[in-house]
Each structure stands twice: as C-alpha cells, then as structure tokens.
C-alpha cells in the first residue's frame, strides 16, 4: 500500500487493518511521521513532535493488539491540539507565555486516548490561547490551508484542521469556544463536531472561556467523529461542569434512515453577510437532504445578531480572569530583568502575550470593572439566556437546524489581521450554539469558487438539541453515504522529500 493511501484511510479501515495484523501500528505511525516530515515544514500544523514517545506508544499498541485486547482506536495515530496538557510534552497553547512549559500531568482527553491505546502523533498549532479564527495569532506562526497555501486554515484549531485535511494524522482533537472546531472544518473541508457543553471533560484543557470551551473531534467523516466521541466523551469528576450521564455509543444511530427528519433553516443564517457562493453550496446540500426524505421547516432565531456582541463580552471577561495565572511567578515566561514585583508582572505579561490576547484581557477587565459590570457582563448574561431560549423554541418545530458553518471560504493570510471585527464575524453562525451550550458540527458540502483563487471547501453546519450528538452524526453520515465531498483531499505541492 502506498504511503498516500495508507494515510488516507478511515478509522474503521485502520482498525480492521491493525486488528487483522495486515499492518502494524508502528508501520502506520511511521507512515504518518514520514508524511509529517515531508509536509509539516511548509504547513506548520504541528508545533511539537517527539518521535521516541510516539513510536513507543505505537509499539505498546502493537503489543496490546497482539495480546488480543485492542479497543477500536488502538494503534491509530491521532494529533492533539496543543491546548491539552499531555505529560512530558510541551504544552504551549500557541503562546510565548507557555513556550517553555512541559505539562506534568495529562488532560482527561489525553488520558482517554491513552487508555484507548491511540498513538499521540504530536501537538498541533493553534491561535494563541484559542483566541482567533485564522491561526494567525499563534506565537509559532501561521498554518497553511492545505487546499491553498496562501489561505488560512481557520482557527483556533488551525493546526489540527490542516493536519486532518493534509492527511498528516488519522484524526485530531480540537476545542471550540465560539466556532474553533467548526469554522476550520468548513475552511479545510472535513468533519468536525463540537459536543454539548459538559459532554467532554475540560480537565487539563487550558481554559479560554470556561463556560463556552468544549473539546471535540476533527476527522474525515461523521463515522470517524463518532468513533472519536466514543473515546472523548464521558463523565469526569475532576470537572464540575462535566455531566454525569451514562456512557453512550455514538455510532449506534449512524445507519438510521432520514425519512421524516425535520430540518429547520433559520432565516437569520441566510441573510446579509453570507457569500452567495457559500449560500448556493448550502442550498444544494439541503436539496440532497430532501432527496433523503427530510422535511424543511423555516424557522427564526431572532437573537442571532446579538450573539457576537454577547460573546465578546462574556468570553473576554472569563478569559481576563483565566489568564491571570500566567504571571511569571511559578512557570511560563518571566521577563529577564525587572525592578520589583509590579514590574515583573507587567514585563512578563507584556512580553508573553500577543496582541489579540492582550486585546481580550483588556476588554474582559473593562466589562467586569466596578460601574460597568451591570451594563456589560450582566446584560450579556441576560441576552445569553434569550439566545438559548431561541433554540428551545426552534427545536419545538424541527429535529436539527442547518445552515452555513462560516460566512465565506478560507480567506487569505493577512487579510483580516488588522480588522478584529471582520475576524470576529467569521464565527457569526457558530457562536450562538456555544452560548446556548448546544452541539454543532460542520460537514463538507462542496466547494465555492472565489474570484481570486481556486474553489475552496464549504462546510454545512448541523446544530442539534442537547445531547443529540448521535442523531447529528446519523444525519451527517447519511449525507456522506450519498455524497463524496468528505473523501476529497487536497493535492499538496511537493514537500520536502
């Protein structure tokens, strides 16, 4: 089997190959490491690799397979977003502040993959502290969109996104605070799921905005995402917001027919701001669902327009407090020279944080300050409840909600870095689900041509009701049985051979 075929398989196919011993985890892992060596220098998807650690895990997986105790993901190489603490690995969160930090413990997500026997290929690039929609705020440099190297992969899970799209991993983890799994999934043409808030433990996942952050899978297909969810989801007493629910099999409903499925289309998702080309791709996808027997219901989410302002009060407020621990006292960056304590704080934080992080710390500090708290933070919390209520009403009329995941295809690197509001609008369709705590996913639905470049991937967003991940995966999987958008991979320019 050629290297490029070997790195293009589904998780189910890998599991069959591994467990029937047609390939070893070591071979599979080496194939990915080889491809990473070839392409990562130009794409910059990974910011930490450790061949010894990775290969040791592959060997252990082979021993486990030989012993007959393999789990579905045993021996399969996974990329981990650098937001998850992994014992003995650099864990930087894309920041200079943590450039020298090696985690002494494992995040829940990491230990779940370890227990499943998966192989950690490395840590992926990301926007600094997950603040960004283009991966351009990373201290470790931008990431190329594998479909067009002059474009951004989206963010904040840009490294994981590029790694999945470029087949530099079998699947990857991401986190989504306002769209950081779904927007890059849309821009890079693969399947990404943000679960219901509380389904995946946040323990060991570096906090951006605690009430919004949620980890999820980034993979080639809905079926792969379901297999990833089977590993990632589950109650963890170390996270007080983790939900104590029975373990579920996210694959259980994949093959259910969709006849009678009610799909809600919110008019606010098809209004001004959506590129016509993207809108057309989404309409085509809806037409496909009609063929599968789904009914279309026109709905409204009237407070959608408030989601960005509400988010940019609440997320920075929480972030300003969450990032206070990076003070140069115990770990992380400390200024080389300082005159006193205050000077040490100021210099260490001024040097350690990038511009976007500083912007959000300032916004967050402002909205929590005495005299402004009621007008900003409290008001935003009230509107957050209205936004959630919109969805409660909507789900009385439909089973799932569909629309675009992002307003446009991948934009050019540098295009929006000086216009934060334009950048923030990238998440216009995704943010409201984080505010409501609902699950959402992005599924490849086609390509939109752009005036100044090649045709680029477009993601269809599927929003489900609370804990409806299995149904959403079913809805996506059935679409992927009759379309092949999710199987298309970019032709990468010659990498380092």
């Amino acid at each position: 089997m050629a290297n490029s075929e070997l790195t293009n398989g589904s998780l189910k196919a890998y599991a069959q190959l591994l467990q029937s011993k047609q390939i070893s985890s070591l071979e599979l892992t080496q194939a990915f490491l080889q491809r990473i060596k070839q392409y990562n220098p130009s794409i910059n998807a990974y910011i930490a690799l450790d061949e010894d650690k990775t290969l040791a895990q592959a060997r252990a997986a082979d021993a486990r397979i030989a012993a007959g105790s393999a789990a579905p993901l045993t021996g399969i190489p996974i990329a981990q977003k650098d937001i998850f603490c992994a014992k003995g690995w650099p864990t930087t969160c894309g920041s200079k502040m943590l450039a020298n930090f090696v985690a002494p413990y494992d995040a829940h997500v990491i230990s779940q993959f370890d227990a499943a026997g998966a192989v950690n290929l490395g840590k992926t690039n990301m926007d600094e502290f997950a603040m960004g929609s283009s991966n351009e705020t990373s201290y470790f440099g931008g990431v190329k969109n594998p479909w067009s190297f002059d474009r951004v992969p989206g963010g904040s899970s840009g490294g994981s996104a590029a790694a999945v799209a470029a087949r530099l991993c079998a699947a990857a983890t991401g986190t989504d605070t306002g769209g950081s799994i779904r927007q890059p999934a849309s821009l890079c043409g693969f399947t990404g799921l943000k679960p219901t808030y509380g389904v995946v433990s946040r323990f060991g996942m570096i906090a951006f905005a605690s009430s919004l952050d949620q980890a999820g899978p980034m993979a080639k297909s809905a079926e792969d995402c379901a297999l990833m969810m089977n590993v990632m989801a589950g109650f963890d007493e170390r996270d007080s917001t983790s939900l104590d629910r029975a373990k579920e099999d996210y694959c259980r409903d994949l093959n259910k027919p969709l006849a009678g499925l009610k799909i809600g289309l919110p008019k606010e998702f098809f209004a001004e701001g959506l590129s016509a080309e993207v809108g057309q791709v989404i309409e085509n996808a809806i037409a496909e669902y009609k063929k599968l027997g789904a009914e279309i219901v026109n709905i409204s989410l009237p407070n959608t327009g408030l989601s960005i302002p509400v988010y940019y009060v609440l997320a920075p407020a929480e972030a300003s407090s969450n990032l206070s621990r990076y003070d140069g006292v115990r770990y992380g960056h400390r200024a080389a020279e300082y005159t006193d304590l205050m000077d040490m704080y100021c210099k260490s934080r001024a040097e350690g944080f990038g511009a976007e992080v500083k912007r959000r710390i300032l916004i967050g500090t402002y909205v929590l300050s005495a005299g402004y708290y009621d007008a900003y933070y409290l008001k935003a919390q009230q509107i957050r409840r209205l936004i959630a209520q919109d969805f409660v009403e909507a789900f009385k009329q439909c089973d799932v909600i569909m629309g675009p995941a992002a307003p446009s295809t991948a934009f050019k690197a540098g295009e929006k870095v000086d216009d934060p509001v334009a950048m923030y609008l990238q998440d216009i369709y995704t943010i409201s689900t984080n505010l409501a705590g609902l699950p959402g996913m992005s599924v490849p639905a086609g390509f939109a041509s752009s005036q100044d470049g090649p045709a680029l991937p477009v993601g269809l967003q599927i929003i489900g009701n609370y804990f409806d991940e299995a149904r959403m995966l079913n809805v996506a999987h059935q679409y992927q049985q009759v379309t092949d958008w999710h199987t298309l991979a970019p032709n990468l320019p010659e990498g380092k051979a």
Partner: protein, 482 residues
C-alpha cells in the same frame, strides 16, 4: 463630648477538613514548603476546582448552630487580584450569594469595674466559603522571596457580624464565644497561633446618641484575644483623639503592632483593588436541600445553650456551674465522661472547675493534655463517696496522679491513705480521746459547741488522719449524748 465605639468583626475560620476546598491536597499544618501543593494548588494550566463536600457540611453546621438561613442556592465567585501567593490570580470566594445568611450569637460579657456581667445578642450578617492564599517567605534564600503554596486552597468560612459591638470587651467576648462555638461543633481547631482562627476588626467611633456610623478602619489579622483588646482600645483612642483634634478619619486597613501596641495604616481604600467579582464558571451553584440540612442536623452535637439547660435540669447543677462546664466542648466532654464513669455530678463539677482547672491553668495546659483522665477523676471521686479516702487524702492522690505515680487505688495503698471505717477501732480511739480530754467534754456539756469540733480534731489526729470523719462525728455525738 461623649463618644461611642462601633465594632464589627470578620473572622476567617479554617475548616477542619482532610483536604483542600477545591482539590485533594492535604491541609496538614507545618509541612515542608510546597509539599502539599498539587496541580490545582499550583494553578497549573488546565486544572479545575472541585468543591470539597466536607467544607460544605462545615458551613451547614455553622448555619444550624447560629440558627441562620442556609441558602438553598449559593454561588462561588472569583475575586480577581494579582499577588504572588495567589496562584490563579483570583481567589474563589462567595460574593452576592453566600452559603449562610443572617443568624445570631448570644455572648456573655464579663463584669468589669462598676459594670456587671451581661448578655448580648450579636447579629451575624453572613458566612461564606472561600479558599485561603499561600504564603510569601522572605529571607529563606538570600536576596530572594519564596512562595509556599501549602496553605493555598485551605478551606475557610468567613463569618461577618453586624456592627453590633460597643466595646473591646464585647468584641472579645464575641470572638471568644465564636472561637468556642466553631470548636464545639467541630468545624475548626481554633488554633490561633497557626492561623486557624483570624479576626479582622472594623472600628469606628461616633458621638454617643448618634445613629449614623462613623468612618471605619479595619484592623487586620488579629491572632490573639489580648492583642484584640489592645488593638481596639488603641484604635478607639486614636480615632477619638483625631476627631477631637479636628481631624477626619480616612477609611483604611490597619495593622496592629504588638511590640508598640499601636495600629498603623497599611493602605487607604482609595488604593483599593477593584476585585471584578463574577460567578466562577468552573463551579456550579452550590445547592443545599432540606435533606442535606437534615442529614447534617442529625450529626450535630448538642449545642452549649441546650447542654447548659440539660445539666441544670438533669443534675441539679447551678446556672453558674452549668454555664462554666459548657464554656468549651473539651470541658463539657470531660465532665460528661466523668459522669458516665460513675462520678457524682455536683462533686465532679466542683473538682473539674476547682482543682483540675486550677492545676491546668497553673501549668498552662489544655484539658486535652491533662495527665488525669475523666475516668481517673471519676475513680478518685468514687473513693471519696464510698468512704475509702477523705477529701484531704483525695487531694494528695490527685497530686500524685498528676505526677504520673499511678492509678487511684494503687496510690491510696502506696501512701497509706485509706481511711479507718471500722467502727470498733474508731470507738476505741474516741474513748481514749474522751478520757484524755475530760475538760473539753465538760465544756461541751456546758453548752460550748466549739468543744465538739476540738474533740473531732483530736480524734482525727489520734487516727493520723485516717479515721472516716463522718463516722467520728456520729460516734462522738452518740457517746457525748449517752
């Protein structure tokens, strides 16, 4: 002008839990620096707080003990500020919705000067759960400051009063009462030296009769009742003098210097932080149900006031005795253990508050380190009741036991303290005494009552103190009346 001082207290009580309030790290005092600092105590990236249920039980216990409202839903909030001993850059506390609401504590203010002792009700505004900070260590390494995070995350219950106290004596009476209460219900070890019980005292003064509060200054971190008295008295004098000199009081935080006996402003409120409180998104609201309260109530010890009433009713003790015995949990437990071991209540009360307390005081010991256990004391008192030894001999046995010379009966035997209770032998002694003291017998018969006591004394002396005094009395009376 006559002035009135107005005082309110904020007390940080360290809760007696096994682990920290938001992590499993140990809270043991005195360990090597940073050996009790887990990932959560260090505020490593990615860690999350998980609330310690034992700390919540302590809060419920306190609420029940002061008959307070216990919030069915309270909220943890972040208090944001930068300090090296505060690893997260915020303290998890409770702000708008505390776990314990309004309650009250009745205090006894001791007599002083012309003022008789009196009781007073101090209203509690609230009590809330929060985490302690670590400690900065200066000088351990030359030219450097160190941080010890062992204490970071230790559970605290901060108890806040209304400005109800009107003198240092009242403030100290309240602090002592609270100190006893939190130990009584087992939520705090009360160790002030180790910082388990720390008081911040808000002091203001106003013209007597005014109902407007003056500007207050807060005396931070008083860790002894003696310092509290000195600090409040100094601060009150300073504020009155300042106002009488035409000055103004600036709201401020002050520290008490035990060496000079003075208070000194640490920072004025203008420089105070804006703490940017907001609900901690990492923690769910704390929900306490009626069942939770009932479960804690079922494990509550009898409270001091209830026990005092019971001691009066059950054992016919005086109000004074019952009050003294319930002044601390240790004392009450000791008393009850002696009763359970068969000692007579009134006699036990006398000994516990008499000889035992005096001895403990003179050697600066706690009941917990008393060399004589409640069971040993009960055994000693039984030997008095059953006539084996006299009260005087009992005091010698007590001293010997204190010095660790053995058990009651072996000491009585070794020292030959057993009293003579054989009536035949006592009769013989009395006959001898009567024969040798005919003059006294005559005086008695002539109506001089005192002569009787002298004859008893002679008989006791003749028996070398071992004759049972009650029997001597009886036999002597019979013989003289014969």
């Amino acid at each position: 002008m006559e002035w009135e001082v107005v005082i309110g207290l904020e007390t940080h009580t360290q809760l007696q839990t096994v682990s920290k309030i938001f992590s499993g790290a140990s809270v043991k005092y005195g360990a090597e620096p940073n050996t009790q600092a887990c990932e959560v105590s260090l505020a490593l990236p990615g860690v999350l707080p998980v609330l310690n249920k034992q700390a919540v039980e302590c809060a419920i216990k306190f609420g029940l003990a002061i008959n307070a409202e216990i919030a069915p839903r309270s909220v943890f909030a972040r208090k944001n500020y930068f300090y090296p001993d505060l690893p997260k850059g915020y303290q998890i506390s409770q702000f708008e919705l505390p776990v314990v609401g309004k309650g009250a504590i009745t205090i006894q203010v001791p007599a002083a000067g012309k003022q008789d002792a009196y009781e007073k009700v101090v209203n509690i505004t609230r009590a809330h759960l929060e985490e302690d900070a670590g400690k900065s260590v200066h000088g351990a390494v030359e030219g450097m400051s160190g941080i010890d995070l062992n204490r970071a995350g230790t559970p605290l219950l901060e108890i806040v009063t209304e400005p109800d106290m009107r003198s240092a004596a009242e403030a100290v009476a309240y602090a002592k009462k609270l100190h006893e209460l939190v130990q009584w219900i087992g939520i705090c070890d009360g160790n002030m030296q180790e910082g388990s019980f720390r008081c911040d005292v808000n002091v203001s003064v106003r013209p007597k009769g005014s109902d407007k509060l003056g500007t207050r200054r807060e005396i931070k971190n008083l860790n002894s009742f003696k310092f509290m008295t000195q600090a409040i008295e100094y601060e009150t004098r300073w504020q009155i003098e300042t106002l009488e000199d035409g000055g103004k009081i600036q709201q401020a935080t002050v520290l008490f210097n035990p060496d000079t006996g003075e208070t000194r402003a640490m920072r004025s409120k203008e420089e105070a932080n804006d703490y940017r409180y907001f609900p901690d998104p990492d923690l769910l609201p704390l929900v306490i149900t009626e069942q939770d309260k009932a479960r804690v109530q079922a494990n509550m010890p009898e409270l001091p006031a209830a026990m005092k009433a019971r001691l009066e009713a059950q054992f016919a003790l005086s109000s004074y005795d019952a009050s003294s015995l319930t002044a601390s949990r240790d004392l009450a437990d000791y008393f009850m253990a002696a009763i359970d071991a068969g000692a007579e209540p009134k006699q036990t009360a006398n000994w516990v508050m008499g000889s035992l307390s005096a001895k403990l005081n003179s050697e600066d010991k706690d009941l917990s380190s008393s060399p004589i256990s409640a069971q040993q004391l009960a055994q000693l008192l039984k030997r008095i009741s059953d006539g084996t030894i006299s009260n005087n001999a009992a005091k010698q046995v007590f001293e010997a036991m204190w010095l660790g010379e053995g058990e009651v009966d072996s000491i009585i035997a070794a020292k030959g303290l057993k009293q003579e209770s054989d009536s035949g032998a006592i009769e013989a002694i009395i006959d001898e005494v009567l024969a040798a003291n005919a003059a006294m017998v005559e005086e008695f018969k002539a109506g001089k009552e005192k002569a009787f006591n002298a004859l008893v004394g002679q008989a006791m002396k003749a028996s070398k103190g071992k004759a049972n005094p009650a029997q001597v009395n009886d036999i002597l009376k019979k013989k003289l009346q014969a």
